[in-house]
Amino acid sequence: MDVVLHQVLAGLATGGIYASLALALVMIYQATHLVNFAQGEIAMFTTYIAWSLVNAGVPYWPAFGITVAVAFALGILIERVVIRPVENAPVLAVVVVFIALLVILNSVAGWIYTYTIKSFPSPFPKEPLFGIRYMSPHELGAIGVTLLVLAALYAFFRFTPLGLAMRAAAQNPQSSRLVGIRVGWMLALGWGLAAAVGAVAGMMVAPIVYLDPNMMGGILLYAFAAALVGGIDSPMGAVIGGFAVGVLENLLGAFVIGNELKLTVALALIIGVLLVRPSGFFGKVHVTRV
């Protein structure tokens, strides 16, 4: 039984990683109704910016803050310059642009920073907390940060007028314009926020998996699975989905199917959820009018 518990704890730790990136994915979806394939690479790129700052001598929390701000600006910039032209284009064009962003960011990061792995500092203490050895203090801290971000996002969308405006702009752009919402800027803001959430995710993940340009590649698929399981338009669902995927993957890998089919599990999850319950466990069911 002990063994199962250990795997569950390890799964929660990895799940925390998936949850944080899944939050960024949900964020983008809520603002634009788009599934952003490049979200992982944007997060990775902004983490490198943080690394450069820390490497230049900037202390951790100021570097963290600057990075989040830069990420926010970068997100807005990408939306205005790269996404705006294909706003009304068919879905395929949008997908192509996302994939292009993915490969460009990955390549440029590799070119500037090389592919050797780098350490990224953790702001959390090094000694095991509460005697829990199966999750490091950083992993616990990262989960804490993710929950904080979740709470902040929830409050933002639920209780602030700006959050309401963003949700309206994504759901019904035409009507929103009629009530005076600047839809264009809402989209840009959504991208900015998603990039900022992604930067936080990257900075929480890097100390665990080490920083290299391909850092988010493996995580992206599991984050998608997590976001879908939880509901692509529900931040809380994304976080719960992340933990669920992490634990499930560990338990299946350790006790049922072996470690060689984990990606296939993610594939099965994604397809399964999309077929059986596309809105996930916590998302809203959409009805399209003919």
Binding site: L34, V35, F37, V82, P85, V86, A89, P90, V91, L92, A93, V94, V95, V96, V97, I99, A100, L101, L102, V103, I104, N106, S107, V108, G110, W111, L221, F224, A225, L228, E260, L261, K262, L263, T264, A266, L267, I270, I271, L274, L275, P278, V290
Partner: protein, 315 residues
């Protein structure tokens, strides 16, 4: 119409003459161009004509390649027999994948196929399948020689073999797409509810499109295995699927000639990008992708069509 036939005839004549004029290495590269053209035609049928986005076609390419390799390696089958088998297997596999895909739209289908593309290499490495797939070591295949003592070297023979199959596949596609089936596919893509209302069995067409599309890409995979003489899981990662997507976007969606332009692009541009900058070849690929989407959304084929139309309409 007549002009098109003439152009195609000239193209075919040039294609037949090339292996005798250029080096073996170039002949090999041109064989690969034809392989990619067939694969891209497959993806175009599904994504260009029928609007179902697939980011995982590399999986069907891999399936076809491994079919050919396993048959040649384990069953001692002759290389030419592996192509129809790969076609059949991928047709069925594509159709089966197409069934659940019916319920997925746009971005969600892209996501599901993306997952398929990412998971494929791991499946190919799976230990319990290793005695057939060769596992991580892959399978080495012998190169076919020209039959009946024809005065062709192996590269040239392979070129003509691939050319024959490619031409056949293109003709088949042209027949399929120019008639009712093609129109039905496009109708489903553009106005699927109206199409259903008009009596088109959307489910059947969409699944069939998936199957046929997979079949084309699977045939391409089999041909590629024979040309490269080696299959391994590392050859079939997610980037293969992404490259195919680039190919149809640049070549031209919903266009048969687009498959050829796209194939030329994906075969020769990385080599050019290598000359510009060793460090960021994929970045250049990405920039091209975005450039085409913004500036030439109908791809090279569309641009050519526009040019020709302008010339015809001007006095």
């Amino acid at each position: 119409m007549k002009r098109n036939v003439l152009l195609i005839a000239i193209l075919l004549i040039i294609a037949c003459a090339l292996p005798f004029v250029v080096s073996n290495y170039r002949t090999f590269q041109l064989t690969l161009v034809m392989v990619y053209a067939t694969a891209l035609l497959g993806l175009n049928i599904l994504t260009g004509y029928n609007g179902q986005i697939s980011l995982g076609h590399g999986a069907f390419y891999a399936l076809g390649a491994y079919c050919a390799a396993i048959l040649m390696d384990q069953a001692g089958a002759p290389y030419w027999a592996t192509v129809p088998v790969a076609a059949a297997v991928c047709l069925v596999a594509g159709f089966l994948f197409g069934l659940p895909a019916l319920r997925l739209e746009g971005l969600y289908l892209a996501l599901a196929t993306f997952a398929l593309g990412v998971a494929m290499p791991q499946l190919l490495k799976y230990d319990h399948l290793a005695k057939w797939t060769g596992g991580v070591q892959g399978i080495v295949i012998a190169k076919p020689e020209a039959p009946f003592g024809l005065p062709l070297n192996a590269d040239q023979w392979l070129y003509f073999f691939t050319l024959a199959i490619t031409v056949a596949m293109f003709v088949l596609a042209w027949n399929l797409l120019r008639g009712r089936i093609g129109r039905a596919l496009v109708a489903i893509r553009d106005q699927h509810i109206a199409a259903e209302a008009m009596g088109i069995d959307s489910a059947l067409y969409k699944s069939a499109a998936f199957g046929v599309s997979a079949m084309y890409t699977g045939v391409a995979g089999a041909l590629s295995a024979i040309a490269i003489q080696y299959v391994a899981p590392d050859s079939f990662n997610i980037f293969v699927s992404i490259v195919f997507l680039v190919g149809i976007v640049v070549g031209g969606l919903a266009s048969i000639s687009g498959a050829l332009y796209g194939a030329l692009f994906i075969q020769f541009v990385p080599n050019l990008a290598d000359e510009i900058s060793k460090a960021a070849p994929w970045a250049i690929f990405g920039v091209f992708m975005i450039g085409f989407v913004y500036l030439m959304p109908t791809g090279v084929a569309g641009a050519i069509r526009l040019l020709l139309a302008k010339r015809r309409s001007s006095p």
